[in-house]
Amino acid sequence: MRQVTHIFNKEFKDYFISPIAYIVISVFLLVTGWLFFSTFFLYNQVTLRNFFSLLPLIFSFVIPAITMRLFSEELNIGSYEILLTMPVTFKDVILGKLLAGVAMVAAMLLPTVAYAITVAFLGELDWGPVIGGYIGAILMGSAYTAIGLFASSLTRNQIIAFIVGMAICFSLTLIDKMLFLFPGSFLGVIGYLGADFHFQNISKGIIDSRDIIYFLSVVFIGLYGAHLAMQEKE
């Protein structure tokens, strides 16, 4: 566990040493801020529901940008060899990287608490769905980070890692909007695969174990995929 902390520290600090963190956070705040507040007053409702409904789509291109370097950079400069010949296991490495990515997502979400506070000034805000929304956002963020890690472990090219990660996250987000393409008997299963579907459940303020299990399974599958991809490289 100690090793996980050291790797987490290094990776998290790296985001703020390079310009990535600042660029990603600014883009994220700009896009969500604009899309949310430009229609906020038209609805004339004190709720953050529209903000949270934006997140799955925005996360699916922002998070791969956060995670693209985590393995690709190591593979590209060859530092992965140094890392693994120090007394750490692959589990330490991948958990440290996952947590660093999730912490970065949290750092990105933190300024949006200001939206909630602003909205709360305008009227009676129901905090239940807001808290649920943030919990859901972190869970979905973890799932997408794991997918991004998997994409990053496939290639030493960060751009390819970004595009692959984005493609997978996008499909997970949009799959339950594409249900009309599938035969009726599959609908239940495919609807269940959609990340958006589970996220919207949580962001209503209902925390159901099925949704949590879904996101944790995606995390596990992503990490396991990364494990297999890195093993293949040896």
């Binding site: 790296d14 390079s18 120090m86 750490v88 040896e234």
Partner: protein, 312 residues
């Protein structure tokens, strides 16, 4: 200290390392030599536990690489080829991170970093980003990285590749300084380097060990001849040749062309079993020739290397 048994590694169908057996004693500086693609790096990577052998085993002290790779990683310091360090970090941050992972106690960290920066000459660059460092400096940071936990065994993959002659001398100096108390395994394809730094040399070719021993003992292997070069001033070529021909043990005498017409340069090939320098000198003295140059060629590792690793 290190026991390598029947070590074999296949990359898909390609056999990179083939049944290598090796014992390395404590305190030895071992040079792993071989042409490019001979399997040097693969052997080192398996020693460090970066990947597992296809078959065979490595024992370091009482640990086996298959079961206790984490314990082995604690015993080792490793510098991969061309020191692949994180570009964005400062040297200090990087070494601090390595110290944390290596489990150096926080109260001892500063003194350890000081000592390493002194040993590897890093004091002036501690606060510079690694991406700005020259190759030689990066290599030194890499050596500091490998030395962090004061490991008993140090594995260096081509520690001097790509450096300029001054840097090479510096790095060798550091290796020799460290080598007084540590077991070092280094790979190289520069022969003079192996000669200058290593106690023992192992030459591998196509994944197999083709020679193993000290540089001196390697030079004695094989039935090569001694070569003596002499230059005489104003001596008659035929007379000299006739004189030397009568010495038992000289197999061949050839004239070397020189720019100076007054100089006669000869190359004498002698049987390696006897040292003929005395008798040759006596003949020259007896004849009262003016001797300008007299030197016995050392059998070079280069020749031995070429012979052992050439195709077929």
């Amino acid at each position: 200290m290190i026991r390598v048994e029947n070590l074999t590694k296949y990359y898909n169908e390609f056999c990179a390392v083939d049944q290598i057996n090796l014992h390395i004693r404590k305190g030895e500086i071992l040079g792993l030599l071989g042409p490019n693609g001979a399997g040097k790096t693969t052997v080192l990577r398996m020693l460090t536990g970066f990947f597992l052998p296809t078959s065979g085993d490595i024992h370091i002290k009482e640990y086996s690489i298959r079961e206790d790779s984490l314990d082995i990683k604690r015993l080792l310091g490793y510098l991969p080829e061309s020191a692949p360090l994180y570009h964005s970090m400062l040297v200090y941050d990087y070494l601090d991170y390595v110290a944390n992972i290596r489990g150096i106690r926080p109260d001892k960290k500063i003194s350890r970093l000081r000592k390493l920066s002194e040993l590897c000459g890093l004091s002036g660059i501690m606060h510079r980003p690694i991406s700005e460092l020259s190759k030689g400096l990066k290599q030194r940071v890499g050596i500091a990285h490998a030395m962090m936990s004061d490991p008993e065994i140090l594995i260096l993959d081509e520690p001097t590749s790509g450096l300029d002659p001054n840097q090479i001398v510096e790095i060798r100096e550091i290796i020799r300084r460290i080598g007084k108390e540590k077991t070092i395994i280094l790979s190289t394809h520069i022969l003079s380097e192996a000669e200058a730094t290593c106690d023992r040399v192992v030459i591998i070719n196509k994944g197999k060990i083709v020679a193993d021993g000290s540089t001196e003992s390697l030079k004695l292997t094989g039935n090569r001849d001694n070569v003596i070069n002499i230059s005489l001033l104003n001596a008659d070529e035929n007379e000299v040749k006739k004189e030397f021909d009568s010495i038992d043990g000289i197999k061949e005498i050839s004239t070397v062309n020189t720019d100076d017409p007054e100089m006669l340069s000869l190359r004498l090939t002698c049987r390696s079993t006897d040292d003929l320098r005395r008798s040759i000198y006596r003949r020259i003295k007896l004849k009262d020739w003016i001797l300008m140059e007299f030197h016995q060629e050392r059998k070079s590792l280069e020749n031995i290397f070429r012979e052992l690793t050439k195709e077929n």
